[in-house]
């Protein structure tokens, strides 16, 4: 299947996502399969990402943030919507069509233990992208590229002959980053890259991401589940809830003045690094759980947990409204 490479306007945007939906079918029956429903993991996500920009994506477990990342990397198939990367519509691309584009779009994964093949040496792990794309060059050139990639991510090139299990979590994540960057991509999708690390290591790795972005001019989609982590790295932040973006804004605006009640709740959950202030901090804990992603959507998905819910919220589903690229929120309080 070769869809025409439609060029979307605004070449400055490295990535455009329009009304992206990813539904996972629930099937019943072994012989006569029929679809009994669908999990709407991502249910209408729209945003753009400028070259060199970092978009932080936050939300609780199951809100669809990782699936959004996987769909953009075309690791899962979108059910609807469009994804354009560097002006090329990749929504319907298969693995063969994606291969040349993967040089420009790489992923860093959450689990630094699982995402590295335990039987491959660091050298081979970092060399693999080059081999896959047939740009390995000569033996000496390959070695040099691996060493450069390792040095760039703060690993001693002398460690190239070791196996992943000989490294700490933070070092393993550096190996994962080196693997992603050896192809010199323009977009890196970071799927909770620091969630599995110790807090002290998290800062180091986030700083490494910032440093590499500034040096290499990378664009990031930086997925995380708390706002404290994305604050340092993001230019803009999208807050996701049950498969949709409920608020998207520039970082400083979002932290200064969160509009959506869910964003406010997330903000309130950030601990203050001062024990006395922390003890007196007003707590606004969101009660309950998000509604099922399989059931019908009636009203605002957040209304049952929302402290500011109005009768209207139970009936009418708010749409994301605001200035594109500036600030948008899906909440009846801000219609």
């Amino acid at each position: 299947m070769q869809p025409p490479a439609s060029t979307m306007p605004d070449a400055d945007d490295i990535l455009r996502v329009e009304d992206l939906k990813v539904h996972f079918p629930i099937t019943r029956g072994a012989v006569f399969r029929r679809q009994a429903g669908a999990v709407r993991a991502v249910d209408g996500v729209t945003f753009t990402l400028a070259r060199g920009e970092t978009l932080g994506v936050v939300g609780e477990s199951g809100c669809g943030k990782s699936t959004t990342g996987l769909a953009i990397a075309r690791m899962v198939t979108p059910t609807a919507g469009r994804i354009a990367f560097e002006g090329v519509d990749i929504t319907d691309f298969d693995q063969d069509h994606m291969r040349p584009l993967r040089r420009r779009m790489q992923m860093v994964y959450q689990d630094p233990y699982g995402s590295l093949n335990p039987r491959m040496k660091v050298r081979d792990i970092i060399a693999e992208p080059l081999e896959v794309h047939g740009i390995a060059g000569g033996r000496a050139a390959l070695k040099e590229r691996i060493a450069a990639s390792m040095a760039m991510t703060g690993l001693a090139p002398a460690m190239a002959d070791r196996y992943p299990h000989e490294f700490s979590g933070g070092q393993r994540q550096r190996i994962g980053i080196a693997r992603a960057l050896v192809l010199e991509p323009s977009l890196v999708i970071c799927d909770e890259p620091v969630s599995a690390l110790d807090v002290s290591i998290q800062a180091q790795i986030v700083n490494l991401f910032v440093d590499l972005r500034d040096r290499l001019g990378l664009s990031y989609i930086f997925i995380a589940h708390d706002l404290a982590v994305v604050r340092h790295i993001s230019h803009r932040i999208a807050v996701m809830y049950l498969g949709r973006i409920v608020e998207i804004a520039r970082r400083d605006d979002l932290y200064r003045d969160p509009l959506h009640p869910y964003t406010k709740a997330l903000m309130a959950a950030i601990p203050i690094p001062d024990p006395e202030l922390e003890a007196t901090r007003p707590r606004q804990i969101v009660q309950g759980e998000p509604p099922s992603a399989t059931g019908p959507r009636v009203g605002c998905a957040f209304h049952r947990r929302c402290p500011a819910a109005m009768p209207r919220c139970a009936q009418e589903d708010p749409v994301l409204m605001g200035t594109p690229g500036e600030r948008a929120v899906a909440c009846h309080l801000h219609d």
Binding site: R103, S115, R119
Partner: protein
Amino acid sequence: MSDATVQQVQDEAVVHHSLLRRMGGGLRTFVRRSPMSAFWGVIAALIIVMAIIAPVLAPYPPLKSDFRAMTKAPTERHWFGTDQIGRDTLSRVIYGSRASLTVAVSAVVLGTTLGAFWGLASGYFGGRFDLVSQRIMEFLQSFPDLILAMAIAMALGAGFGTVIVAIAITRIPFGGRVIRSVVLSLKERAFVEAARGLGASHTRMMLRHILPQCIAPYLVLATTHLGVAIIIEASLGFLGVGIPPPQPTWGNMLADSLNAGLIPPWWLVLFPGGAITLTVLAFNLLGDGIRDALDPRLRGTA
């Protein structure tokens, strides 16, 4: 302990004990951790050596008749006695190991490997191919090993190659199912997903990322099934559809013993039978030991 940590510990165990990668260190650890399995490993190795240097070890040619000593109990001249036409039982047992081991090793390597690749593809691609493959394997497995091997051997006609093919076919589903189940869990691992994200082809993901992780279960399976293959080979020989006489095999030696009288002389039954028992026991216990060393989770299970 989190899932990631458990996985890490297992990965480390796998890397540390990989016999292929760290032969020396791995072997030493193996001997220290399970001396019993190491002992049976030595027995298995001795049996293999015996098969290789049979002409040096055997006191007589296996087909040479000593007409002064027919159906004689063990003596100084013939330690294991002689059969009805005066052939030396010890020499025949030693030479018999050649047929048993050659057939068993070839059949297991052929059958298990074929099954393993089939299982790899079946588990990796899933879907309809997997569904059909698994039904074929179930069909093969629904026959008792010996009956299936007999049917194939009889259909193809007696001979060395026939016996190997017949036994190999009975081994395919075992290799297929075990490797498929390993692949099913491996393909969900994050590093396989990561390889896909790099743009790796199916071939690359299967051969580079999944297959190497299957070596441990393959080794265990192959070693254990060597024992089974030896039993089937001997049974085919005993039933007269195996390797035809006069070439000595442990199976057809047992069959011959029946012709020596209503109650066969004990030395004609004990020595080939003992050889079969010892060899099967050695390979099975060695296989168990390798499995425990490579996969600590299965320790103590049958």
